[in-house]
């Protein structure tokens, strides 16, 4: 048995049967990272020593017959915006190039408690702002299905790493599709949980009311296992919700009382949807019907407003969340902040230092969103933009509430297009923003969504299908995803390249 090809279940079986140890598994992934990451740029400055040490400790405990956690010995890679004590956590920004948090994110504590082995940190768009991993200060991650192409973003490194078997599973974060879209573009499973299901403590904030940490895996069971570990109320995050955490893995194979009701929103099939993606979605609907589900058309009439609303709310919160990076206490500090223009001569040195530090520390996309967010919150504009966007957000939530009165899950595309070429959209922010058209609404509404492999294009690129469910209905969502996965073999396809 080869740990590299295994799902989490496969790894746990391998550990239990003695087919391989955790140390051997970690070494296999470390070797694979060593061999292939140069092409993919998915994992950042990985040193396996600490992971191997952790793995050996787990192996020793296993040998002594100790009770081990549900992810004992399982390697997991972490997006570079989730804090780990003493480890670099840079958000792939020059601004945080030297930030080593003095604390662990709650999800990291929970992973440690569950026996998981942290494999390393993963490339991402700068501060999670981007849909292609191209805004990273460490350069773009590459899609293992075609190295010319982007793995999507912002959790591009996580998706690429899991797709290329550099890690069996990974944690990403999803603010407008940043887990689901790269999962779709790389042919892996990516889950964005309900807002409040997973603690955000230790996730470097992009847009606090939208951000949610979630797992990547090769199959639905992988993300169910990780979710069971990381979900739950955290006193350190007031927005985490106090609800029981069910056994999501058990939910996968449970038999519901009545057939699954799948909704297909009329609005999904609009301009901009790639025909091959559209046919994959229609095929997926047929698969669900063949599996005994009912499929009906629903409407999400306000979904067309989701992108404008999203690109007001998210930058507004980001402009405030990122205000702290000014070079005073932390963040990159410019060495030269002498006045460059006459206007700057009148400014206090402190302000000039902040301005120069921010100008140097942030890349263009982050700068664009900070400016956008600052504008939409400004006096005289807030009512027209920010307040209006909050109203739209409410309407979008209402749309979902109405739809979920009649269906259990909503089926649709994750991304309107399959993986695109690196550089193709970077110069056109609007085209990049439109990639979030199918994923942004779930963040605005706070509901869970999952992307799973649902086909390949003629040219051999993965197509993701998305399922969405009501808030805290992750069991239903995962069960539905498992129904599709059981009936298809798309999740077994791996990129031939590496």
């Amino acid at each position: 048995m080869d740990p590299l090809g295994a799902t989490i279940s496969g790894l746990l079986d391998g550990f239990a049967s003695g087919a391989f140890s955790s140390e051997e598994a970690v070494r296999a992934f470390a070797d694979r990272i060593e061999a292939h990451n140069g092409k993919l740029n998915a994992v950042l400055d990985f040193d396996p020593a600490h992971a191997l040490e952790q793995a050996r400790a787990i192996d020793a405990r296993r040998a002594q017959g100790h009770d081990l956690g549900p992810l004992a010995g399982v390697p997991i890679a972490i997006k570079d915006n989730i804090c780990r004590r003493g480890e670099l956590t840079t958000c792939c920004s020059r601004m945080l190039a030297s930030y080593r948090p003095p604390f662990d994110a709650t999800v990291i504590r929970r992973l440690h408690h569950a026996g998981a082995v942290i494999l390393g940190r993963l490339n991402m768009d700068e501060f999670a702002m981007g849909s292609s991993n191209e805004t990273s200060c460490f350069g773009p991650a590459r899609n293992p299905w075609d190295l010319e192409r982007s793995p999507g973003g912002s959790s591009g490194g996580a998706a690429a790493a899991v797709a290329a078997s550099l890690a069996p599973t990974a944690l990403g974060s999803d603010t407008g599709g940043s887990i689901r879209q790269p999962a779709a573009l790389t042919g892996v499973v990516g889950l964005k949980p309900t807002y409040g299901r997973v603690s955000r403590y230790g996730l470097v904030a992009f847009a606090s009311s939208l951000d949610q940490i979630g797992p990547f895996g090769r199959e639905v069971a992988d993300v169910a296992r990780v979710l069971s570990v990381i979900a739950g109320r955290d006193p350190m995050d007031s927005t985490s919700v106090d609800r029981d955490v069910p056994d999501y893995l058990a939910a996968l194979e449970s038999k519901p009382d009545r057939p699954l009701r799948v909704g297909l929103a009329r609005e999904f099939f609009s301009e901009g949807l790639d025909p091959e993606v559209e046919s994959a979605i229609r095929e997926a609907a047929r698969v669900f019907e063949a599996e005994g589900a009912t499929v009906s058309e629903i409407s999400l009439p306000n979904s067309k407003h989701a992108i404008p609303a999203y690109y007001i709310v998210a930058p507004a919160e980001a402009s405030s969340n990122l205000a702290r990076y000014d070079g005073t206490i932390f963040g990159h500090r410019a060495e030269d902040f002498e006045p460059k223009t006459d206007a700057e001569k009148d400014l206090p040195a402190l302000i000039r230092m902040m301005m120069a530090s921010r100008a140097e520390g942030f890349g263009p996309e982050v700068t664009r969103r900070i400016m956008l967010g600052t504008f939409v919150l400004s006096a005289g504009y807030a009512d027209r933009y920010y307040v209006q966007a909050l109203k739209v957000r409410r309407l979008i939530r209402d749309d979902f509430d109405r739809a979920f009165q009649n269906v259990d899950v909503i089926l649709g595309p994750t991304s309107p297009v399959p993986a695109f070429k690196v550089g193709e959209k970077l110069s056109d922010p609007l085209a990049m923003y439109l990639l979030d058209v199918y994923t942004g609404p779930a963040n605005l509404a706070g509901i869970p969504g999952i992307s799973l492999p649902g086909g390949l294009t003629k040219s051999g690129l993965p197509i993701g299908i998305q399922l969405q469910a009501p808030a805290f209905a992750e069991e239903t969502l995962l069960r539905a995803a498992r129904i599709f996965e059981r009936a298809t073999d798309w999740h077994t396809k791996r990129p031939g390249l590496v």
Partner: protein, 492 residues
């Protein structure tokens, strides 16, 4: 020309909590810079605020005590600005839905008969305090974040105050009330109570028409007397300035001036060129707070008798003078409680008041003791007062016994037994001492007969001699009576 003074206050009060408003680190004052910090109060990337429930309780207590309306739904907002006094570059505050609106602060009556009534409250909201900037010489600034994140109440009044003395009185009453409530220690020197004042004048011109002077916000007032002095100065300054340039509220924007205590003047402070745009929006890292009836009821139960009510009760229940009632109440709740206990135990409120004011308060002031550490509890003091009342001791003896009780911590009976205190209450015994004293001092009788000295002086001297012979143990009233009787027998 006459004018009305228009004053409104903006008061900041630090709440007395163990931990900060949104993080677990400590709040103790006066520690080395930046030692009361943690990842949350430093705003480290990845951290999140969590509301301090105790702080919210104290805030509710304050608002309820002043009769404010408590919002059933309140939320947090971010006030965005770039300044290193808060490392996040935003302050978590409350903008459009403060937890409390309305209510009123009492204005104490002044000795000159003015004052009284109350000043309406516009709103009270809760926020996190900012750090302290110390602008050192050479253009360098230092940042101390110990204060950053300490729970802070902002109390805004309507412009209802008409006299600087009332502004001061109202603040002093606020401090007393908040101390009774255990909400804050309100030390202006330490900054746990801070006050800015808005002031202008409504001038009635000789022709009967009215104008208002431009509003000035006075900052940097670090004591109650500074508040009163700064307002007095500013009123005078505004009136003179108006007489000079005639500028009214319509001609000039609001000005910010800082009070300089050593100079006794207000000085203009640097104005922001443009109005600050704080880009308020709801704080997404915190959930709104919903306050229900049960919560309000629980807090209401924790609110004891407030100073105003207590003064009135001391006057009506015990017949104390307004002066005495005030002295006892304004020492703080512990002293008022102590008095209540002694007065009830002895049934002698005036005696209790005298003993407490003249002895207990003097000693705790001299020894700088909190009342809780004063060795004589209310029951012990009541016991002593009862002995004086029952003539077991005279007042001087009582004082000596109390001094010994404070010194040794022993109860009155032990001190009396050890010190041989006690009054000679027996008529015959004392009559014998009186007779013997007169016999031993024939010159005194001569003086009385000779008329050279005033009889009262001679009698007083004889009383002293009797007390001397009894080592101070004679009941003074009985001595007077027996001395008069014996002198009468002797024909004087």
């Amino acid at each position: 020309m006459d004018y009305d003074i228009i004053i409104g206050l903006e008061i900041h009060v630090q709440l007395q909590t163990e931990s900060k408003m949104f993080s677990a680190c400590g709040t103790e004052f006066g520690l080395p810079p930046n030692t009361q910090t943690d990842p949350v109060s430093l705003g480290l990337p990845g951290t999140l605020p969590v509301m301090n429930g105790k702080a919210f309780d104290l805030a509710l207590k304050t608002a309820i005590a002043f009769g404010a309306d408590i919002a059933r739904f309140t939320k947090w907002d971010r006030k965005n600005y770039y300044y290193p006094d808060l490392p996040k570059n935003y302050q978590i505050s409350q903008y459009d839905l403060p937890f409390s609106t309305g209510g009123a602060l009492p204005i104490p009556e002044r000795k000159d008969g003015g004052g009284g009534g109350s000043v309406r409250l516009t709103r009270i909201h809760l926020e996190e305090d900012t750090g302290k900037m110390i602008h050192a010489a050479g253009g360098l600034s230092e940042v101390d974040l110990n204060r950053a994140g300490v729970p802070l109440l902002e109390i805004v009044t309507e412009p209802d105050l008409r006299d600087p003395a009332d502004a001061r009185g109202c603040l002093e009453e606020l401090r007393l009330t908040l101390r009774y409530l255990g909400v804050s220690d309100c030390e202006m020197q330490e900054g746990s109570l801070r006050c800015d004042a808005n002031v202008n004048l409504h001038i009635t011109k000789d022709d009967g028409s009215k104008v208002a002077t431009p509003i000035v916000e006075i900052k940097n007032m670090n004591s109650f007397s500074a508040v009163e002095k700064a307002l007095r100065y500013e009123i005078e300054r505004q009136f003179e300035k108006w007489k000079d340039d005639g500028l009214t509220i319509k001609d000039a924007p609001k000005e910010t001036r800082g009070w300089s205590d050593p100079d006794g003047i207000t000085k203009p402070q640097r104005q922001k060129e443009t109005a600050a745009d704080y880009r308020y929006f709801p704080e997404p890292d915190l959930v709104p707070v919903e306050v229900d009836d049960a919560w309000i009821a629980r807090i209401r139960e924790e609110i004891g008798e407030l100073p105003m009510a207590r003064r009135r009760r001391f006057e009506s229940e015990y017949g104390l003078s307004p002066y005495d009632a005030n002295v006892l109440v304004e020492q703080g709740q512990d002293v008022a409680d102590y008095f209540d206990a002694v007065a009830r135990e002895t049934g002698e409120a005036k005696l209790a008041s005298n003993w407490i004011q003249q002895d207990v308060l003097r000693v705790i002031k001299e020894k700088r003791l909190p009342l809780a550490d004063f060795p004589v509890g209310p029951a012990a003091l009541a016991d002593l007062i009862n002995r004086v009342k029952n003539k077991q001791l005279n007042t001087n003896q009582g004082r000596e016994v109390l001094a010994a009780m404070i010194e040794t911590g022993k109860p009155a009976d032990a001190v009396i037994a050890e010190g041989g205190y006690g009054l000679i209450g027996d008529r015959d015994e004392l009559a014998a001492v009186v007779a013997a004293t007169i016999e031993a001092n024939p010159k005194a009788l001569d003086d009385l007969a000779g008329g050279k000295k005033k009889p009262e002086a001679v009698k007083g001297w004889l009383r002293g001699q009797v007390m001397k012979r009894t080592q101070g143990k004679a009941d003074p009233q009985l001595v007077v009576e027996l001395l008069e009787a014996r002198l009468a027998e002797l024909g004087h």
